[in-house]
């Protein structure tokens, strides 16, 4: 089974955010950018599933400007097998991302799509739900525990909801968005960073996707 993980490049969580002098937005130039923490957790979960033998390949995808490649390299350094970068320099909103992801899923045909529950720059918490709706796949959001059963092709997801914990059984293929307590992402070790240099990052194009 192939797992696809969608990751986003955002302003590093520890940076002090400054508003631009013309108040048009937030200062992003010359500011440290990194992988969205929830996306890191999603990628870590995908890697753990692969290491337990239930998946054959982990593909990391990202939509954004050229520098997204750095974030994808981090993903590859953590252990993803290959990456796809959809180059789009402007700002994209959850619905557009969801449509792009839908097209990518139809091309790659993964058995599981993992995303972070929300991005720390916009806090939308919409992309995972929207792409599940577009694909007509079941969704388990705010996952704090994921258990896959390959024979029955079912994922049991514990969700953190307002009232406590809810357990769902989803038929695969499914969309799962990850929450903080799911796992602790691994560090990128040097041997893996070096291996990542030779891994492929395919270029994708946003045209052809419905806007």
């Amino acid at each position: 089974m192939k797992i696809m993980v969608a990751i986003k490049r955002v302003i590093d969580y520890a940076v002090k955010i400054r508003v631009k002098p013309d108040k048009s937005g937030v200062e992003t130039s010359n500011v440290k950018m990194s992988m969205n923490p929830f996306c890191e957790i999603a990628l870590e979960e995908a890697l753990r599933i692969k290491e337990s033998g239930r998946a054959s390949e982990v593909v990391a995808v990202s939509v954004g400007p050229a520098q997204c490649v750095d974030t994808l390299r981090t993903g590859l350094a953590m252990g993803a097998d290959r990456a796809i970068h959809v180059d789009y320099p402007g700002s994209l909103y959850p619905l557009s991302i969801a449509k792009i992801l839908k097209a990518l899923v139809e091309a790659e045909k993964p058995g599981l799509l993992l995303l972070g529950k929300q991005a720390i720059d916009d806090d939308c918490n919409q992309t995972g739900q929207m792409v599940a709706g577009l694909l007509k796949w079941p969704q388990g959001t705010f996952a704090s525990k994921v258990v896959l059963d390959e024979e029955k092709q079912v994922a049991t997801v514990d969700r953190e909801v307002d009232g406590g914990l809810e357990t769902l059984c989803l038929d695969l293929p499914a969309v799962i968005t990850t929450d903080l307590r799911l796992n602790q992402p691994r560090y990128a070790t040097l041997p893996n960073i070096m291996k990542a240099k030779s891994k492929v990052i395919k270029k994708g194009h946003p045209t052809g996707f419905e806007r």
Partner: protein, 555 residues
């Protein structure tokens, strides 16, 4: 000797023994125990070299009486007694101070004094009954002038994070705490020159400069509490010395108050000023024994955007050295920190501090090195660093490593290195040594110490490998005299033999007050004593510390 030891033990257990009865006896170190601390330990009572009698005191903490056991850490041949030339505080003195400082500036509250009397390591406890908190230089000047005229000994105090007992009273010296003088006076955005008062906490200065796009040229684990006046007075080193140099270079000027109240305004903000003898250097590193620093003018480097941190593993110490050489050559101008820790240090940290995990859990390594690079171009720095690391891995110098991918990971790796002193404190008793030794010999000392002590103690080594500075810590469940005798004077003699420094950055304080001869020639020490006599003839500033009392009493 035996008879005396027996008497001491009997006295120790006697509840009627009152410290006030033992006037004129040496009271060097002590430790109080607070009941809610998990490890409620009593100390062995040491008796090795003390011949004039013993003193035991019962401290009153929150109304309960706890036996204060004495632990003599230094093998002092001569006894240190309270200098009889110093006066004792009278109520007239207190009213005078209240007149100058107001009610707020005069602290006699027992709880606050208990904190101010105890050092961070909880090894040294004074018995001062008075703490003064001046808010402007003029007040400091008036206090000192008065104390000099009355021959009242004083201890300048800042953040009280010193590790050699230099910031707390030995007997009943008046504590002059400059913590209330914490204003930032000016900052020049073009030159990066910051002028501030001595009581500014380092971390606050770092945050202030953060907003301006600059950084402090020094960074240490104690930044949350230590004050810049203290940093300057002790010539603090820290993690970035390899890149920005020592405070002797970064401090452009300072304002100090001498023992007789004279205010020396050397608060220049000029990068270059060759007019006469540069006296500020006397005060930098003098540990408060020549004057109290009240203002500091410091050159701050601009903040560079790209910071990378690698946590690496090496098989043996020789590889760590090779790595240092390669790093200096290959990383060149972007190298900003090079720290090392051995596996014992990592284990102590992981065991005693929360929220940290081993960055390289897959296997056990003997040595870990932290390399930080700071530069202005992320892509260039990352490329350089990765090329360097790849080459080091291929040549076998490093066996494994991780590169921090975001600021969160960067701070966790730094926490591992910066948290070692704290973790050691939690682990129990710790004998702390800070030595400058030739880098190629550094670990030899650690191995010899391990061989000497065997299973009696955990020898932990870490330090600023980039500066040739080893922090040798011996961790044991409790302080014992037997252990101390195996460590000292061996460690000092070893260092002296290799022409190293017995105190690389911590200073001499009280702990090493009579050890200077291991690292400095007699002629230089005599000249130091002469300078001390010139600037502080009554010897009221931070007495019993830095220079050997015997030398000072001769001059």
């Amino acid at each position: 000797m035996e008879k005396w030891r027996l008497t001491y033990r009997l006295l120790k257990h006697s509840s009627n023994f009152d410290r006030r009865l033992t006037s004129g006896h040496r009271y060097l170190f002590g430790r109080t125990f607070i009941p809610f601390k998990e490890n409620f330990r009593t100390l062995e009572c040491p008796s090795r070299s003390y011949v004039n009698g013993a003193s035991v005191s019962f401290a009153r903490v929150n109304g309960n009486s706890y036996a204060v056991q004495h632990r003599y850490l230094a093998s002092v041949a001569s006894t240190t007694q309270r200098n009889p030339d110093f006066s004792k505080i009278t109520s007239d003195d207190i009213s005078y101070f209240k007149k100058i400082l107001g009610e707020r500036g005069v602290v006699q509250d027992e709880e606050k004094l208990a904190d101010a009397n105890t050092d961070w390591m909880r090894k040294h406890k004074g018995s001062s009954k008075l703490m003064l908190q001046p808010r402007i230089t003029e007040e400091v000047s008036q206090i000192l002038k008065y104390c000099n005229s009355r021959c009242l000994a004083v201890v300048p105090q800042g953040g009280n994070t010193g590790l050699v007992g230099g910031s707390v009273p030995v007997f009943d010296e008046v504590i002059i705490n400059v913590g209330s003088m914490n204003n930032i006076l000016s900052f020049d955005k073009v030159s990066g020159i910051l002028v501030c008062e001595a009581g500014c906490i380092l971390e606050n200065l770092i945050s202030f400069l953060d907003n301006q796009g600059f950084i402090m040229p020094l960074d240490l684990g104690a930044k949350g509490s230590c004050q810049i006046g203290g940093n300057v007075s002790t010539n603090a080193g820290g993690l970035r010395l390899i890149r920005y140099g020592s405070l002797h270079g970064s401090v452009l000027g300072l304002e100090a108050v001498l023992a007789n109240g004279t205010v020396l305004d050397m608060l220049g903000t000029l990068r270059k000023d060759n007019t006469g003898y540069d006296l500020k250097h006397l005060f930098i590193g003098s540990e408060g024994s020549l004057g109290i620093v009240t203002k500091v003018s410091i050159l701050t480097p601009p903040m560079l955007s790209s910071v990378n941190l690698a946590f690496l593993a090496c098989e043996d110490y020789a590889s760590c050295q090779k790595l240092l050489l390669e790093a200096k050559r290959k990383l060149g101008e972007i190298l900003s920190a090079f720290e090392f820790l051995d596996v014992n240090a990592l284990n102590v940290v992981l065991k005693h501090l929360d929220g940290l995990r081993d960055p390289l859990p897959s296997s056990v390594h003997n040595f870990y090195v932290l390399i930080e690079t700071t530069g202005s171009m992320e892509s260039h720095d990352k490329e350089k660093l990765e090329a360097f690391l790849l080459q080091s891995m291929n040549s076998g110098i490093i066996t494994d490593g991780v590169l921090a991918q975001d600021i969160n990971q960067t701070s966790s790796f730094w926490r591992i290195r910066e948290g070692i002193p704290e973790a050691l404190m939690k682990a129990g008793a710790v004998y702390k040594y800070d030595l400058s030794v030739p880098p190629e010999k550094m670990y030899e000392l650690v191995e010899e110490m391990r061989a000497r002590l065997g299973s009696a103690a955990n020898v932990v080594a870490y330090g600023h490998l980039g500066d040739g500075n080893l922090h040798l810590n011996i961790s044991a469940p409790q302080y014992t005299d037997g252990l101390l005798s195996k460590i000292e004077p061996f460690v000092y003699e070893w260092t002296s033999k290799h022409r190293g420094s017995i105190s690389a950055e911590h200073g001499l304080g009280l702990m090493k007050a009579d050890k200077i001869h291991y690292s400095k020639s007699p002629e230089t020490v005599l000249l130091m004593a002469a300078i001390k006599k010139l600037l502080d003839p009554n010897r009221i500033l931070n007495p019993y510390k830095v220079l050997p009392p015997s030398i000072l009493s001769q001059s």
